[in-house]
């Protein structure tokens, strides 16, 4: 049986910041969802089903908070679904929601992802106390620093690559009014002089801890066609994929994870992409520490293994480059963990709809959204385009 076509017809996000003390968790998700519905020119009653995603419930101290949020998200009498796939969850949530349309079950689905990290201490929440296992790291940076060190050794990348990515993303973030970090005075030197947190990751090369939410409205073909007819271009979903692999497995390569490569190959096949570097106009990928940009460029097939850092050095991934990456400023500027994946997916959709404002890539017709989570083991991707698949 054929899958139904599905498109993004509305996108909304909150203003992200370290502490959104002005709103409750319910207020935060409602802010993003209201904006997505307004963008789609819909109201709460138009929505058939709601899919909620976030990372661990301990971050806010509410168990299965979608139960609490059903009311704020207008889900009374509707199906409400909750996804949790670690850091990739924002992406997975959009994919689970899109499947409800692809399967022909619903016509209009609201997907919402959030994290309100000011309610707790995310760094220690991510330092998992696994029973009977000695604690080996403090925060996600402590976990990923050895992966980056390994990448630098294998690729021979010079030290300044991580700094260049951080500078680019922070400068892009200044163009995004919703971004958490706006640092117009940041410079190559100020990043290099910032404190070394987890060698080789400096303070200015790591993501912030944010409060924020993102929402997308997914519509069936008839819904998207109607939006297009009214001059609101949909972002057609041309491919979706998820892959998972173990945390602890001797076969794994955490620098170039097989799961990430298979996930990318799957979405490209669905979208008819044979040369991703040529066929894709821009990419939003999940880069919580600057060095992950060259690593993911290789994992997602934009560069050969060991060559990704050269794209960074040559300015290919800059906003005015040949393959812009993280036009929004990315995770390095904004990281409400549960929402971070959906923010990537949403930015990709905004680009192909031509609605990304000052961080719009001219003529973007096809874009990739990417998210990862756990110990580089959970992957979610979509390819969106201006053309109906």
């Amino acid at each position: 049986m054929a899958k139904e076509r599905v498109a993004v017809v509305g996108i909304g996000q909150t203003k992200h910041q370290a502490t959104r003390g002005d709103v409750s968790v319910a207020g935060l998700v409602r802010e993003a969802a209201s904006r997505a519905l307004a963008d789609a020119q819909m109201t709460w009653t138009d929505v058939d089903a709601v899919v909620v995603g976030k990372a661990p419930d301990f971050f806010e101290g509410v168990m299965m908070p979608e139960l609490l949020l059903a009311d704020a998200l207008g889900a009374t009498g509707k199906p409400l679904f909750r996804v949790h796939t670690a850091g990739s969850v924002g992406g997975s949530t959009a994919l689970v929601a899109s499947q409800l349309v692809q399967a022909g079950i619903h016509q209009r689905v609201l997907a919402v992802a959030f994290e309100k990290q000011s309610e707790s201490e995310a760094m220690w929440a991510l330092s998992l106390p696994i029973p009977f296992t000695p604690p080996l790291h403090a925060g996600a940076g402590g976990y990923f620093a050895p992966h980056i060190r390994s990448y630098i050794r294998r690729s021979g990348a010079p030290d300044h690559i991580g700094t260049m990515v951080a500078l680019k993303d922070r400068q892009n973030g200044c163009l995004n009014p919703y971004a958490h970090l706006h640092e117009p005075d940041i410079s190559f030197e100020s990043i290099q002089e910032s404190m070394m947190l987890w060698d080789p990751i400096r303070y200015a090369e790591t993501c912030p801890s944010s409060d924020g939410a993102c929402a997308v409205v997914l519509g069936a073909e008839s819904v998207a066609d109607a939006a297009a007819a009214e001059g609101r271009p949909p972002a057609w979903i041309q491919g979706t994929a998820m892959r998972s692999e173990p945390t602890l497995s001797a076969e794994r390569d955490t620098v170039l994870p097989l799961g990430g490569a298979l996930c990318a190959a799957d979405v490209y096949r669905q979208a008819g992409i044979t040369d991703p570097r040529r066929d894709i106009d821009c990419v939003e990928m999940y880069v919580p520490f600057s060095w992950f940009e060259p690593m993911w460029l290789e994992n997602l097939g934009f560069a050969a293994p060991g060559e990704g850092w050269k794209m960074v050095e040559d300015g290919v991934t800059a906003l005015d480059g040949d393959l812009p990456v993280n036009m929004s400023g990315g995770v390095l500027c904004t990281n409400p963990i549960g929402a971070s994946g959906m923010l990537r997916f949403g930015e990709a959709a905004m680009q192909v709809r031509g609605g990304a404002g000052e961080h719009q890539v001219d003529g973007a017709r096809r874009a990739v959204g990417h998210a990862y989570g756990g110990g580089s083991q959970f992957f979610a991707m979509w390819v969106v385009g201006a053309e109906k698949p």
């Binding site: 990372a55 679904f81 996804v83 998972s244």
Partner: protein, 352 residues
Amino acid sequence: MRDVAVISVAQTPARRRVEEVNEVEMLMPAVHGALGQVDMTIDDIGFTCSGSTDYLAGVGFSFVSTLDAVGPWPPIQESHVEMDGAWAFYEAWVKLQLGEIDTALVYSYAKSSPGDLPMVLTRQLDPITVGPLWPDSISLAALQARALLEAGKVTEEQMAEVAARSRRAALDNPNAQLAWDRPASELLTEEHLVAPLRRSDCPPITDGAAAMVLAAADAARERVDRPAWIRGIDHRIEPIHLGHRDLTVSASARLAGEKAGVADGPVDVAELHAPFTHQELILRDALGLADDTVVNPSGGALAANPMMTAGLIRIGEVATRISAGTAARGVAHATSGPCLQQNLVCVLEGEG
């Protein structure tokens, strides 16, 4: 919709406390049991989906350790819901509808024993207005039972009959935790635990796990003689605040039942996820079950109530009876949230 069936079901024996193994080790016999019944391994599975909650495990990302033990190498297509496994089952059914894969593994598990479950569940409530009062899950259910009694919709005698019938049925269920044969009249002489609920009106606290394999169309027919076909499935939610709902009915269960097509044929067997006796009576009414429908032949959640899993087990109990040929058409129900806030209904049938 594409024909999708349950082709194998496995669960661990429900126990008050599983102390000698961790959650991962507790789950593995269920996963390997479900796969083994149909001579499959994880390599034969197109999509894997699980349900669990970090709040009971006491650690963030608890499902990650479990997935490691399932063996996702080479990398697999997989997802996780922070919900009862019945919703993981729903996601797997949706995934199978897309026509790209033919098989799915669903599992869920929880250990409630390390904490004080009724207190832990208060963390689901509004953290500003309700949570600080620590209203435990039994007290909230008692409010619902009181509303039913005062509305004249049920009697304490009817509730005691549910308690007695469920535990008597559980005598035939080797996986049950609480099974006995005592008349309802005797139960009514018990003191109230939280009035109007007696201890016999309440579920046990359980550690346990379950798993099942789903397959589409021919992939199901070639593996088992009598697949349990999913003929309808739907889920609906209501606001969490008790003051926003009429607690004496379940509008969301009624709607999910209508969408799933419960009324489209006779119901031989129904497994209802009703942790408290009065909730079975609400659900029977909401789903419009006839008097001759056999309800909870397994003993239901009153005989074993592993969190995140008791809903998935209801689907398994109905599927097992259909595959065994003792029922032709059945209804399975799962619930989540305080006082039946969220409900899922699945209609299963045998061939033709």
